[in-house]
Every structure is written in structure tokens, then in C-alpha cells.
Subunit: 141 residues, 2 copies
DNA sequence: TATTGTTATACTCTATAACTATA
DNA sequence: TATAGTTATAGAGTATAACAATA
């Protein structure tokens, strides 16, 4: 009989749940040819026109060195445009085709998140989300 | 003012919480020069002597192609030994040095998991773990 | 000096395909 | 035929170091 020494560990359960969710989201996003990180960035730009990529990086905890190629790909596909704010910063905005694609992304993510919520008892949902946020807001490496 | 379109999404919170937890665990495991996946495999072998690597893969949801190099590195470091069961399967066991290192790994993981639990209200812990397990047990991609 | 953005590089985990040897 | 294990390769996220240009 198999003995699982990990069943009572929240960190391990967190890892497995996140991996399952991300694998599913990745597959769902293939229809718009976006990675999860790219889709997330589009949503943030839509809600925050003229945000800079360093501000996005701070909000999503993505290092600057990793933001550059992500934003670069979105710009190359004409989903976003970069408008110089000063000599070194650029405000980011969705283009028309970026806006159109972002609407599709929002539907995909909404369906995805609903599928997750369906697994969580309704009475637990708010507390569950609060526990997750507590884990990533002040869990310094 | 920054607007965060992701705050109410459990999938996004899951991703961030898992990433924070794994970054922390990775750093904590540098003292034993193990990756999180390698440390996890050691714990499973300790609790299940003579388990095969395909059985470990099924339990941890790690593809066979990815198990091979993980187990290979542990064997190369003489932390585990492979005993042929039949012509194609090998039972895995900890060596003496593997057993010693696994005790250190268990302490590291216990401290890590306690740090996570400290962020979760005591009354929520069981339900929180059940929600996470519900997410990864039947959330097929 | 500090910040923005960039390039290069490496590590970890995951995914697919193709192959062998054995059951 | 199906399974156990392996190899090669690629994609995705993340990390550090170094750099140029600008504030």
C-alpha cells in the first residue's frame, strides 16, 4: 500500500493545485496563442492604460529582466503600443486588435476561474481566497 | 491609482501563493543541494521502500520522461539505490547517506510548512487543505 | 546615484516524441 | 500489446549579472 507523506502539507497541496490550474489555463489560452503571463499583462494594461512595464512588474512580482521579452512579444504582435512618457519610461496601451483579443481572454479566464470555484464550497470561497492572499503577500523567500 | 483586475481570481492567487512558497522552499533546500522535486521524491521513497519510479511518478503526477533524470541524479549522489524487481522495474531504497540527508530534508520541510500554516487562521487550516486537494484531484486539464 | 529598460544566461518544472527492453 | 525506463528536445516561469540611457 502506498503511503503519502505529503498529504498533510499545505505547501505541497498548493504546488499541485497551482500546477493543475496553470496546465489547464495554458491549454485554454492556446486558442489565442498567449501564455498565461502574457494574458495577465493584457488584463492589467486594459484596466490601467499608460501603465509602465516596471509598474506591471511590481504589481505582478515579475522581474524587470523578464518583463522585457513579455512586453516585447505583445508589442511585436501589435496587441499593445508603447508611448514614451519620459526618456526612459513608456506608457503601455492596448491597440484596437489588443482590445479585441483581450475581450476573448477575459471570457477564457472567467470560464477558467469559474471551473476552479466550482470545486470550492460556496461558503468557503471568500476565506479560501483570503488564505491564498495571506500566503503570497507576506511570505518573503 | 493602480487597478488590479486579478484580485478576485482564485486561480491567480493560487499561482502567486505557490510561486512564493516554492521560491522560499528552493532557497531553504540549497543547504542540502536538492531541488524541491528531488526532496519530495526522497520523502516518498523513505515512506515506501522498494517503490518503483513509475509508481512515484503516478503518485506525484510527474511524467516518466521527467522522473528518469530526477532519480538518476539521486542515484548518482548515492542517496538511493536501485534494486531490480524484474527485467524492467527497479525498487528504490534510501542508502545510509540518503537516510541521513532525508532526516535533514524532513526538518527543512517541516519548518517550511509551519511557516505557511502560520499565515492561515487555525480554524481554517483543515478546510483550506481540503479545498486545495479538491482543486488538484479532479481538475483535469 | 537611482531607475528604466534591455540582453544574455542559467535553472527548474513540464510536455511531447521516439526509442529499448521486457512483461 | 502494454509497460518501465530512457533520451532528446522544447516551452514556460524565474533568477542573477551586466549594461546603456535617463532621472
Amino acid at each position: 500500500m502506498f503511503v503519502d507523506p505529503l498529504v498533510s502539507f499545505p505547501g505541497y497541496a498548493l504546488r499541485r493545485a497551482s500546477a493543475a490550474s496553470m496546465a489547464r489555463l495554458s491549454r485554454e489560452l492556446t486558442t489565442v496563442k498567449l501564455r498565461p503571463s502574457e494574458a495577465t499583462i493584457l488584463l492589467v494594461i486594459e484596466s490601467n492604460p499608460d501603465i509602465t512595464q516596471s509598474e506591471i512588474g511590481q504589481a505582478l512580482d515579475i522581474a524587470g529582466a523578464n518583463m522585457a521579452p513579455l512586453v516585447g512579444r505583445l508589442a511585436e504582435r501589435d496587441l499593445i503600443e508603447r508611448r514614451p512618457v519620459d526618456g526612459r519610461s513608456q506608457g503601455l496601451r492596448l491597440t484596437d486588435s489588443g482590445r479585441t483579443l483581450t475581450q476573448r481572454v477575459k471570457r477564457i479566464i472567467q470560464i477558467h476561474e469559474n471551473a476552479l470555484l466550482a470545486k470550492i464550497p460556496r461558503a468557503q470561497r471568500t476565506l479560501f481566497l483570503e488564505c491564498l492572499r495571506a500566503l503570497y503577500t507576506d511570505l518573503l523567500p
